[in-house]
Symmetry: C2
Subunit: 176 residues, 2 copies
């Protein structure tokens, strides 16, 4: 893995992939599948996301104020669904689904070694937590695989139906 | 086009496609390309999105309190980039890019006839407008093409690089 400039974090999240959110607090850790996320600012990268208060990760995220957004390739689809279909209370999802935690640089939550990119984040705004369980995160460090080509991401369409990232298309554009 | 149950709106937006946001106010109308959006609730569907105050659409959205989120297929990629690279002040993007406005059912903003789905929305929360230009919208009606298969969506990776939606994958899942 190599460091990814923070100004490029949006290129990972803007296309809307399913991500694995890892959290840790007071000896507990968890992983959840998450699709409800949104860039809010390019740099420093701000990311909004919904982590329901019905999710075990909600408390870990709120209490630690930290998390890692990990990007799984399509080969991890079964593990993603496994994480999305189980509750972390009393279950170590890393062990259950064969995911390898690695120490992060800036936060206590672990990176997931099997993912091709990881974004270390801190919670910076909880204004809309009560209304929508909406956390605002700031990315403080990002990592990406040194492999030449990142794997295909997966994008959830509901009820276990995923779209796998397909062809690339480039059009001349002044957009960031 | 046929009505799409509001409870299915998330299946369109959760995968993260680029959308065309249409707005209208006091005889002005506009279209902008948007990728920074996020589901906040299933039903009634709540959608968070960033519309920068540097965008002409910002004022139209804020003043009318209404918009339509239109989903373009890959065949509209050039029009999407065109909308993203131009400013609506003094320019009718519908005319410029050959997009056809159609009356919506519940809001004053127009549907875009060339798009395969459209979600009529009202602004319901502007708490985070000052901080991040983040609007919370409620979907009040949704439309989808009657065609058997929707076209492939496009997903922006920055600087005119798009991922075109690829293969479908289904895994047994209890997730909504």
């Amino acid at each position: 893995m190599r460091s990814l400039p923070l100004g490029k974090v949006y290129t990972l999240l803007e296309p809307g992939p399913v991500v694995l959110l890892s959290t840790a607090f007071a000896g507990q850790r968890n992983v959840m599948a998450m699709s409800w996320h949104c860039m809010l600012e390019f740099e420093p990268p701000l990311i909004g996301c919904v982590v329901s208060d019905g999710n075990y990760s909600h408390g870990l995220l709120l209490q630690s104020g930290e998390c890692v957004i990990n990007l799984p390739g399509a080969a991890l689809a079964e593990q993603v669904v496994g994480c999305g279909n189980t509750c972390g209370a009393g279950l170590d999802k890393f062990a259950r689904f064969g995911l390898t935690p690695r120490p992060a640089r800036c936060v206590g939550a672990p990176l997931i070694a099997e993912c091709f990119a990881s974004i270390e984040c801190r919670v910076v705004d909880t204004t809309l937590l009560g209304k929508y369980c909406f956390f605002v995160l700031e990315a403080v460090h990002a990592w990406i695989s040194s492999a030449a080509e990142p794997p295909q991401t997966i994008h959830h369409r509901g009820h276990g139906n995923f779209m796998v990232a397909g062809a690339q298309l480039h059009l001349p554009s002044k957009m960031k």
